[in-house]
Amino acid sequence: MDGLNALLVKIGRGVGGVVGTLYQAGRDTIDTIIRNILPFMAFISFIIGLVLVTGVGDWIAQGIKGLAGNIVGLLIVSVVCAIPVLSPLLGPGAVIAQVVGTLLGVEIGRGNIPPQMALPALFAINPQVGCDFIPVGLALGEAEPETVEVGVPAVLFSRLITGPLSVVIAYVASFGMYS
């Protein structure tokens, strides 16, 4: 009888553990949705509404079309985003990358930018990723202050090379996509 009891307790604990894990995962998810995802959706929806209803959209389309519709324009965008003084300013929260991404998405949907440019564009608008966060990111990795001192410029200068390079790689990798 004791053996059976022990078995039942074991099964009960096991099932309880799995259910608890799944429930906690669901709780984390809803928390993330409410705190991180929905606020940004609201913000993005407003911008899209503004772009589609007002003439701003057509005005932006003219500028974006020349830059995002071809590889040379995308390279220019990536170099500008990777300039060491600008990149930490463009970085925070990836807000700029997300807004520009959304605007590009609107223009791709309207047919102003060919869909195969989506992949290189994803890299062209993002060479500044994390440039605002280097000291904090290095501190999370328990880096010494001397490493931070060298690491910040090292990453910023590296982006000047790897930013445009990533656009070229993505451009080559986009051959055969949506065509």
Partner: protein, 194 residues
């Protein structure tokens, strides 16, 4: 939803009042359109996102994110064969299991001279991964989702773009890791000489 739209049965207001009324309709039209977009996002991607995030969160809890720490210790070794581990495998697993921003804590297993390069590599992967695994960076989904929305609008599938973004991202963070490690080494050498 279109609460301010004029009914068809009465005449449109004219004159100054008509112009103001027209302006009001235009004004509210912006938000009606934005609301439609918001509703589309809520109905379109949010349900999938909820289920996907829950499944992956549960998976991560069951596996236990501390398992990848051993790999971090291995990636600290010098030698050419550890480059892909340090700047492709480790950043991928770190971003997948620990998500943004805790992924960067994996840098603590590496020697100081690799830390900036690892950070560069890991932080550059927090967007390419969101195409397939949005749990890794739920606060910054619209870099990918914004552009993906345009592709969806054209009636094209997203699998191709998401997969290519993921793979090209891996190649890019690998190169980024190597370049940043090289620049860091040069700067450390110059500092030591000074």
């Amino acid at each position: 939803m279109n609460i301010f739209l004029a009914a068809d049965t009465v005449a449109e207001p004219t004159g100054v009042w008509g112009a103001i009324a027209g302006g009001a309709e235009y004004f509210i039209g912006i938000f009606n359109r934005g609301g439609e977009v918001f509703f589309g996002l809520m109905g379109g991607i949010l349900p999938t996102l909820v289920v996907l995030l829950t499944a992956v969160n549960a998976l991560i809890r069951i596996i236990g994110p501390e398992k990848i720490e051993k790999l971090g210790e291995k990636a600290a070794q010098p030698g050419l064969q550890w480059y892909p581990v340090r700047y492709m495998v480790l950043p991928f697993l770190a971003v997948f299991f620990l998500t943004n921003p805790m992924a960067y804590t994996m840098g603590r297993f590496l020697p100081e001279r690799f830390k900036p390069a690892f950070y560069d590599s890991a932080v550059s992967y927090v967007h390419p991964i969101t195409g397939l695994f949005p749990h890794a960076n739920p606060g910054e989904l619209f870099v990918y989702l914004g552009i993906a929305a345009g592709i969806t609008q054209l009636g094209l599938g997203l699998g191709d773009l998401a997969l290519r973004y993921l793979l090209v991202g891996l190649v890019v963070i690998f190169i980024r890791g190597i370049v940043t490690e090289w620049i860091t080494a040069r700067m450390l050498a110059r500092k030591a000489a000074a």
